[in-house]
Amino acid sequence: MAVMARPGANVAPNSHIPPTMHLTLHVWRQHDAASPGKMVQYTTDDASPDMSFLEMLDVVNEELTLRGEEPIAFEHDCREGICGSCGLMINGTAHGPEAATTTCQLHMRSFKDGDEIYIEPWRSKAFPVIKDLVVDRSSFDRIIQSGGYISAPTGGAVDANAMLVAKPDADFAFEAAACIGCGACVAQCPNASAMLFTAAKVAHLAVLPQGQPERYARVGQMVERMESEGFGNCTNIGECSAVCPKGIALDVIGLLNRDFRKARLVNNDGGDGM
């Protein structure tokens, strides 16, 4: 039987023996976008508390491959919490039980020996499943393409210090810009709304002096695109911010709503405002 003591303070580093964990996994398997999917049960005895959640899935996949079965497809890349590729519903919570932690940074010491774990893809009309746990989040890219930028072609910039930005504004812009585009906000929202994602980009650019000329056109275009992609409406529930691995605060949504209403006046026509 595995020793379940948390490794660390009481364990001499030079005599570290990783304990093992027995787990029962229920994993969403779906061959492709057109096929129906179902939950499939797997067990493993070779997890250890030092593994990341994705390394635990690596172990399961190695075993499946050697048994002649297809490994579980899941998205991942940097495995250090910044690229935004990974994202799993773990026991019903986007990115699992730890706050401000992506799936790749979640470690198995957050679980107990003998646990049952339910693993599902992000579920949203705007994020169709491609295979198993992999979903299509290109709708996020299209929201950015619709106006989530400052038009600043290469070469025309003034000296960087010619434009002053108050430190609180720069800090606020940074915090909003820290969004990694993982889609946890949409996955956790009962309405599958992309409001936190869209508002984070709107807020980042709206508080900077460089962002002012396109400020009201931008918010109109991005909201229009967001709605046409099939995301639900925001009803201020706040689950999005609670699961956001970067802790993006709900106040960006307030800023978006304020700018969106003002845009209808500024743009005069409520349309694209160009």
């Binding site: 005895d45 297809e70 490994p71 290109s138």
Partner: protein, 668 residues
């Protein structure tokens, strides 16, 4: 369960019998292949004069040219956006589901620029000087000077895009000193500078996609380059969702596909980072320069077991206050707090009294390896050294330490479940960056006309060792401010749209790719791709990592070849080629890593000097420090491909130093 039993031990098991080779490489007598086209004259005028001498494409004709850009990191996204702004049609490809996820996003520390906003004596010339010297005199002066010149434009451009750099209360940009630099020239956005710069380039790229000037192909992997009539004409790709093999023509092709650190299996790179695009171009005739120049970063979290899938870097700023030590005697398994002061060895402070714990990355890494090889390493497997903050906490207080390093301490605790305020951190070196890459001339063009290479994928600016905060600078310099000029200069001499995707040359390459896929799928062996990759990585790490020897490299070359043979006979890849198949993707990448690994070892074998991050045990000073050999190796080694398993041909580009005179580094 299919766990591997191998460990990253310092003493590898005996090699299976492999035939000794007579010849590891051929020397080329023809040096005309490496025409650097670097300008002459005063160094500060070279880029300006070159830009003026370049041919221009008529604005009305630009729409008729297509440029293929592979990769969407800092170099790729900035090049794609800038070329589209100029009016060229751009096709951009990335293997990720979105261009925003390229691994540039993970860079933490910052980006250098010679703005001299701090009035502390920085200048273009000083940044140039530091970069040439930091690269241990193995980079081309003209390229490095241009990099320093455009560094200031990069910051202006990024601010105009809305990149939220750190600011002071007066609203001006903040700077810090980084990586041992004597001036404060590093711009940063907390510990997420790479993310913010990439999102800036991504927003410029997104704007051009929205305007219809760039066609973006996410989840699309380049599997080969198509060369017709002596020039690059396009690429062959695999759609990673449907498996469809397709051709894309370009009047020019840009590879901005990153580094090859994942040849070591464990590295700080993202899991998907690979060498395939660059390697395929190499096999089609592009020379590969200095492949053995890799950077090993000293402050990474150690490996915990065979399940380990990647290594996590922690900012080297930790060395400003942490003290590095191991037990004085081998095999001391006491807890760190039970080892008294006089039974500890603060080995960097002992050996380098003037720099102490702040010696450069290569020196810190190599010394950590040495003490672990002596059996004095700490933590599971004995591959780690302590980075201890107890004295700093005593001196400055826990609060100050938390203000400086709180985020890093939290990250460390999240991964290791150890509290670094109470227990010393454990660190070990890990592969972080690769200075080598495809050879390019001053205009970033490879030895294949029409094939340009940017960012980490080329070899050009960092010599044998890259300085901190210089990778982001180089990626954006290449994409925003070099390629938009030099690609235009090439296109001005080319008739647009000469080739179509139904050209026989494209079909032939598509067929080769399909056959390769079928061969992988038909093997049905008994080992997974990952098990081969782990074994290959261990070989390269043991023999072509921090320290290399003639005998070890020869042994490695034989063992890599034997393992490669086994890979093709015994790999097991489930599924089919006509679907999303992550095992198949990995198999293609690992196959190319096998061939690259052999070339890296051959390059390391030929370069019998120590320089930069590359320590050759036969070439050291009496004190055991790296000994460079300028008489024989003041050059770029560029390799020509001669077929799998055949000895490659070595071409040399001599390096001359008119402005920064080579000196031996000393940190005693």
């Amino acid at each position: 369960m299919a766990t591997e039993t191998e460990r990253r031990s310092p003493a590898p098991p005996a090699a299976p019998a492999t035939p000794a080779r007579d010849t590891y490489w051929h020397e080329s007598a023809d040096h005309s292949m490496l025409e650097s086209r670097a300008p002459e004259g005063p160094i500060d005028k070279r880029w300006e004069e070159r830009k003026f001498s370049m041919k221009l494409v008529n604005p009305a004709n630009k729409r008729r040219y297509t440029v293929v850009v592979v990769g969407s990191g800092l170099a790729g996204a900035s090049a794609a956006a800038s070329l589209a702004e100029l009016g060229y049609r751009v096709e951009c490809f990335c293997y990720q589901d979105s261009p925003r996820r390229a691994h540039s996003i993970a860079a933490q520390g910052g980006i250098n620029a010679a703005k001299n906003y701090r009035n502390d004596g920085d200048s273009v010339h000083r940044l140039f000087y530091d970069t040439v010297k930091g690269g241990d005199f193995r980079a081309r002066e003209s390229n490095v000077y241009r990099l320093a010149q455009v560094s200031t434009d990069i910051i202006d451009q990024c601010v105009a895009q809305g990149v939220p750099f750190a600011r002071e209360y007066g609203g001006l940009l903040d700077n810090r000193s980084f990586g041992g630099a004597q001036v404060s020239r590093t711009f940063y956005a907390r510990g997420q500078t790479g993310q913010q710069l990439l999102l800036g380039a991504y927003s410029a790229l997104s704007r051009q996609i929205g305007l219809g000037n760039v066609t973006m192909h996410p989840r699309t992997e380049m599997l080969d380059l198509v060369v017709v009539d002596g020039a690059a004409r396009g690429i062959v790709t695999r759609d990673m969702v449907t498996g469809a093999i397709g051709s894309h023509v370009g009047d020019a092709v840009i590879l901005a596909t990153g580094g090859y650190g994942n040849v070591y299996y464990l590295s700080t790179n993202a899991k998907g980072c690979n060498v395939t695009a660059a390697w395929r171009a190499h096999k089609r005739g592009a020379l590969f320069a200095n492949p053995c120049f890799t950077q090993i970063h000293p402050t990474c979290i150690p490996v915990t077991g065979d399940h380990q899938s990647k290594l996590t870097l922690m900012s080297e700023s930790l060395r400003n206050d942490g003290r590095i030590w191991v037990p004085l005697v081998a095999g001391d398994s006491r807890r760190p707090d039970q080892i008294p002061e006089n039974e500890r060895d603060y080995f960097l402070e002992r050996k380098y009294p003037s720099f102490g714990n702040l010696v450069p990355r290569d020196v810190a890494s190599r010394n950590a390896k040495t003490v672990c090889d002596e059996g004095r390493g700490v933590g599971p497997g004995g591959l780690g050294v302590y980075l201890d903050f107890a004295d700093a906490i005593k001196r400055l207080g826990k609060r100050t330490i938390a203000e400086r390093y709180g985020n890093l301490f939290d990250m460390y605790q999240r991964i290791t479940a150890e509290n670094p305020y109470e227990v010393p951190m454990r660190i070990y070196p890990a592969i972080h960056y690769t200075m080598g890459g495809l050879w390019v001339d001053y205009e970033l063009q490879s030895t294949i006309p029409g094939l340009f290479v940017a960012g980490e994928a080329n070899f050009s600016d960092h010599g044998a060792n890259r300085l901190g905060a210089s990778a982001l600078m180089q990626g954006l310099a290449d994409g925003y401010f070099v390629l938009p000029y030099t690609v235009g200069n090439y296109l001005a001499g080319v008739k647009p749209g000469q080739y179509k995707p139904d050209n026989i040359a494209f079909k032939e390459v598509e067929n080769e790719i399909s056959q390769r896929t079928q061969r992988f799928l038909a093997t049905k062996g008994t080992r997974t791709v990952a098990s081969f990759h782990r074994e290959l990585g261990k070989l390269v790490w043991d023999y072509c990592g921090m320290a290399r020897t003639d005998a070890g490299l020869k042994r490695a070359i034989g063992r890599i070849a034997a393992l490669r043979t086994e890979f093709y006979e015994n790999v097991h890849i489930p599924g089919t080629g006509e679907e999303l198949n992550q095992s198949l993707e990995q198999a293609g990448r690992v196959a190319d890593f096998f061939e690259l690994a052999e070339l890296m070892c051959t390059d390391a074998l030929h370069r019998t000097e120590s320089c930069g991050g590359h320590f050759r045990e036969e070439s050291q000073t009496p004190e055991g420090e790296a000994l460079r050999d300028d008489e024989h190796f003041s050059d770029v080694a560029a390799w020509e491909y001669n077929g799998v398993g055949n000895a490659p041909t070595l071409h040399k580009e001599p390096l001359t130093f008119e402005y920064v005179h080579p000196s031996q580094r000393s940190y005693k």
